[in-house]
Each structure stands twice: as C-alpha cells, then as structure tokens.
Point group: C2
Chain length 426, copies 2
Amino acid sequence: MSKTSLQPPRGTRDFYPEELRFRNWLFGQWRQTALQFGFEEVDAPILEHAELYMRKAGEEIVEQLYHFHLHGRHLALRSEFTPSLARMVMARQGSLKLPIRWFSIPQCWRYERMSRGRRREHYQWNMDIWGASEVTAEAELMAAIFASLDGMGLASGDVRMRVNHRALLEETLRDGFLKERPEVFEPLCVIIDKIDKIGGVAVAEQLSAPDGAVALPRTAADEVVGRLQVKSLDEAAQSVPDDSPAIADLRRLFDLLDGYGVADRVEFDASVVRGLAYYTGIVFEGFDAAGELRAVCGGGRYDRLAETLGGRPIPAVGFGFGDAVIAELLADRGKLPDLPRRVDAVVYPMSEAERATAQRLARSLRQTGYSVELVLADTKAKRVFSDADKAGAARVYMIGPDEMARDVVKVRDLASREERDEPLPS
Amino acid sequence: MSKTSLQPPRGTRDFYPEELRFRNWLFGQWRQTALQFGFEEVDAPILEHAELYMRKAGEEIVEQLYHFHLHGRHLALRSEFTPSLARMVMARQGSLKLPIRWFSIPQCWRYERMSRGRRREHYQWNMDIWGASEVTAEAELMAAIFASLDGMGLASGDVRMRVNHRALLEETLRDGFLKERPEVFEPLCVIIDKIDKIGGVAVAEQLSAPDGAVALPRTAADEVVGRLQVKSLDEAAQSVPDDSPAIADLRRLFDLLDGYGVADRVEFDASVVRGLAYYTGIVFEGFDAAGELRAVCGGGRYDRLAETLGGRPIPAVGFGFGDAVIAELLADRGKLPDLPRRVDAVVYPMSEAERATAQRLARSLRQTGYSVELVLADTKAKRVFSDADKAGAARVYMIGPDEMARDVVKVRDLASREERDEPLPS
C-alpha cells in the first residue's frame, strides 16, 4: 500500500483516541441538551435514495451530492438529514403522535473541492419539531442551541443569532416580479444566501444573469440586494402591509426569546435567508460574534417539504449544527475541554506465575466498574510504570512472589507515589 | 415520492426512537465493557479506499463489497473495520506506544442478496490489540466478550465459544499438498468456513473443484474435511509433532481462560477457521448454545495483515461482534431490555398569558438536569395529560391564571395522580 493510501480518503478523517474523545464529548453535549428539551433520538441510513435530495433551485448542497449508480439503483451518501427525516415521518404519518420532537447526530457528506481545510464529511446535530405551526417551536429550538452553547462553556456573547423570515422577502417582492414568476423565489433565496461570501454586487449580478435561474432586470436585482441591508424589524415593517404575518411572527419570536432570557443574543438581519430551497418561514443562523468563522448552526421552518415529496402537508421546523465550526470556535476561545486518557488501574503480574491471580484481580476490579489495563506480556517494572503514567492510570496493582505468599496486592498510587498492600479478592 | 421510496433503501434500516433506544443501550453495553478493559475508542471513515479490501482468497466479504468509482477514485463503503484499523496503525507506526488496545463500533456494509431478513448494513463492535504476540491477548479479548454478554443479562450457558488455530490445520497439511502450494491455504480456509452452512460433502466438492482456487485431488479434500471433525485438543495433538506451537498456544489459551473463570464456556473445534483470509493463529467464534442462530461474534489473530498491506509486521488480534444476532438472541432468551421513553416533566402553560412563566420554569428545570417537554401550542388539559402519559412523563407542571396570581406552579404526579403547589423559580 502506498504512503498516500495510509491516509483516509481525501476530505475525510480518522478518529484516533484523542479525536474520538472530543467527538464523544461534543456528541454528549448535544445529546444532553436534546434530552433536556424532551427530544427523542432517531437515525436513518447514511446511504439513501438519491432522488430524496434532487431539488432544482441550484443549491450547493445538491450540486455537491455524493451520488452513484449501483446495481441499477441511484444512491447517495446523505448530504443532510432533513430529507430522511421527512421520509421517516411520512412513512408513519397517521400513527405518530404530533408534535414530534426528534434529534439526530448524522454524519453528512458533500463532494466539494478541497480548500481552506474544508472536509467532505462532517457530523451534524439536528433537532426538528414536526406538527407545530406556531413560532413557539422556533423559539424552543433557538433556546436549545443557546443552552448547548452555554453547556460547552462559551460566554453568552460568543455566538449570536441572526433571524429573518422568508415570507418577509416574499411579501416585499409579491407585487413585483414574483407575481408573474413565483417559481424564481427558491433560486433567488439560494443566490442571496451567498451574500456573506461573495458580496452584494456579485449577488445582484447572479440574480440578473440572463441565463441564470432568476434572470431579473438589473434594477430589480439591485432593489432586492438593497432590501437585504435592512437591520431592524421596525424598518423592515415599513415596506410591507401593517398586517404582515411575517412581521407578526418575528415580533412574537422576539417576545418568546425574551421569555427564555436569550433575546439579547438574537438580532434581525434581512440578508439571512439560508441556502436550502425548502425553507418557508423564519430562518436563523448562529455565528461567532467576532465574525471570523462560517456559520456555527442554522435552521428554519420548512412547512411545505412533506408536500414537495408527495405527502400531506405537515408544519416543520429544525436546525443543523455541525462539528467543524464549533470546534474552531472552542479552540479560539480557549474552551476546548481537557480530555486526557484515564485508566483507573494497571494490573501487573510480575511474572507468569502470578498471571492467573492478576486475571482474577482484574476481573474483580472491572466488575466494580473500574477501567483496568492488564499487562499482557512479561514486562520490566520500570516500563510498566512509565506506560501506566502515559496512559493516565491512577494506580498500578503489582503482584509478585512476595505478594502471592502474603495473599495481597501492592497498590502504587502514581500521583503520590505511595504504596500500600491490599488483600486479594477471594 | 412513491410509497416504496418512503422506505429506506433495500436492506437498510431507519431507527425510530424505540429502535434507537435499543441501539444506544447495546452500544452502551459494548462501550462499557471496552472501557473496563482499558480500551480506547477509535473510528475511521465509512467510505474507504476500495483497494484496502481487495483480497483474492474468494472471501464472501470481498465479493459483496459495496464499491464504486467516483471522480476517478475507486471507493467502498467499509465492509469490516480491520483494514481501516491497519491503515491507522501503520500510518502512525513508530509513534504509537504498543501494545495498542482499541475498540470501535462502526457501521459496516455488504451488498448481498436479500434473504432470510439479512441486511446490507450492520453495526459491529470491534476490539483489537496490536503489538502483543502472546496468547494472553486472545484470552483478554475472549474475557471481554463474556463480560459483555454477562452485562447484558444472558446466562453463562447462553453463548459458547469455539476455538481453533489456523496453524494447527497448516501443520497437519504441511507435509502434504501445502508443501508445493502454500498459496492455497487462504482460499482453503475460506471454503472450510462454510462447513456449518453447506456441510462437509459440499466443502470437499469445492476444495476439489478442478477450476476452483484450491483444486485438491478428491482424496486429499476428503482427508481435510475428515480432520475438521476433531473435537478435542488431545485428539488434535496426535496428528502434529509433539512440539507443535499451535497445540501449545491452545493449551495455554485454556489455562488463561481458566484464570478468567470462563474456560467452561469454551471448546476446541477443528472446523472453526473463520472466513477472513488474513487470520494466522488462534481463531474463535461465539454462538448461541441452542445452535439456532448465526455466529454472535468471531475473531482471531492476524499477525501478517500489516505486512500484506506493505508495512512492517506487527502482531495483532481482534474480534467483531454484530448487532443483529445478539438482538435475536436477547429476544429469544427474554432478555431484551425494557426501554420506554422517559420524560421528567411536561410544562404546561394553560394559556398564552402564562407562556413566559412556563418558559422560565422549563429553563430552570432543564438546568437542574431534568428532561422537560414544553407544551408549544394552546392545548386542552385532557390532551396534555394523555400525551404526557404516552411520553412516559413523571409529572405535569401546570400554570394557569390562579397559579400566576399565587406565584406557584401546580405539579401533578402522573403515577399517584396527586397534585401539589410548588413555588415558581424567581
């Protein structure tokens, strides 16, 4: 095997023990928050029907789908969890009690050009509520995100949330070009989502490209981009009717966030639309307050996804929260947890004559819940102590001829270097 | 979307909450045992270089590889974890402290014809020790398997282990056809592994098929099959030299198993060779004592795998333990754990006027570690109680105008139906 192929496939990761300890810690944080919010965990296959992901709004996530034909089937590695979730809910529609509160921690794949250390796979915490049409659901999910960030030890100012409402943009454009061409709304949102990355001018260019999916006149495109600069809800309210449902939803959201004590960590931002075609209502994204990283998490309401997939409509809202940006942020803020290896005991038979006794001792210590490493070969004491130190062991249990004769084990505490005899288990 | 495509791809599973609770329980059992044995968890990508799996001994696992070409690369969904593990160890050879004790719980894929409820994916607990050449390593792994089975509540007689030694078969055949054609040993083992499924006569036929990988004379094939019937170590010892290293290893293994108190759950069986080409030494498989199911787990020593992949030799031994057969066995023995959904509290604002107070209460209960479901829409009390019952909730916290006026919450215990007032958090 070549040197190259000793590495995992390009864009993927191995998890050596130290990396897996961090992954388990992060999953534990996510799982704990989700359980505290009364959510149940679910999962679906990492290999899915490719058709589940095929949407035509020009989304990056669809263009980067990891898909292939195998034995006459068109399959894909999941790029996001929501389509699988929709499939699962729709398959049991009628027998599931609504609202559903489900979470998952799927690995998701996207085939993108490798740059700036981006990878082709990541883990993504998802929380979704199906069957709740009110903004209380969005507020609950945003509260869960903040609870999780707090649990990780981040300061309350480290991550801020931007919110908007897709219907607000739709309402402001309804009397214009959308009246004739409502189908361009989804690709329009997909293009607008790139504004942080490519800037307003490039967005206007893409919106007005004659061969593009939206193909607006340049003046209309400039007007759309202009509206994205609005940063206050009051200002946004001026360009829509007084009874705008989108404005009412957003005002209610801020009230609800106040009830959770997190309203000051959230701001209105008309440029936030999220890059997935299926969102229909409130959309939100969390970002580091310093503005140096990609989005930490993002989500929104997608009330029409089930319909799009051929089912009855069910209101739904959810978010995704990846493992990459949060790891960078925790590192930047000095909040990465210290997760050294820990072993409670190393059991060391000083020669093969003591092995059976050492096995019995190891078994007994393990049954009490201890983590126990049993020395498997004839090894010098010096090496055993040095290895035990590196393994983060608390104690070494030594059994030699002298201990055997006295029916004891010599226990050495590696921190204090104190030694004492303990009786052997019978 | 069609009805069919509401189902996961053929041979794969969705995990609804009840299935995921079982999966988490099982993974928890495995993880707990591995940690008690001082093992560290690792993982590798589910998508690997296909070349890692390409071996020529006719193994089913290679023939059923889920592989495809994508963007000029030949990739595969992992069918087993050992090749990834070998890659990981080899990539850090020199910097890793031996022996390594690693475990993992990968999902593995194989594309097989669907029959008898077999699936195309399963989860498999792996424990491996690299860098330990002595049989103490095999004994430690087998002790871990039994500890895990005991932890799941199975009786000590429910799963028995069969052991053999590949070198024993090799020693008995060394003076025969293997002298001229040592390369047929791996395909020979792969064919022999099918004996439980297809019987001795069919094995002899495959071994003697003129166009097969082994192509023995029929008499030689019959002789090989005859040797597989040996069920005692003493009998096996008669057909090899007195100083047979394989016999010595096996005798030592039984001594060591006695030290762990599990020797009576293990028996010698000359027909056990395991179906993976790379095993070189002791091989073992666990099976239900009633003999009704496929193997519960299996493993062995594979000291030459690193070499085969182009690295320096490192002794290694490991096992795989899948999630399918153990689930069947637990069901058969009435030992499936009872894992209902549990929620500590349902918080119920009786109207929107009490919502902010309910949010504060939910937040406070969650911060103490409670699992709390917050009612998200205006709902009738009767429905809330019924839903809370179904969710396995212990208590419902109700807040109406009367409670607000008195600054309390009414707490109803769903089991006893008793109600009491508690002060609201400030």
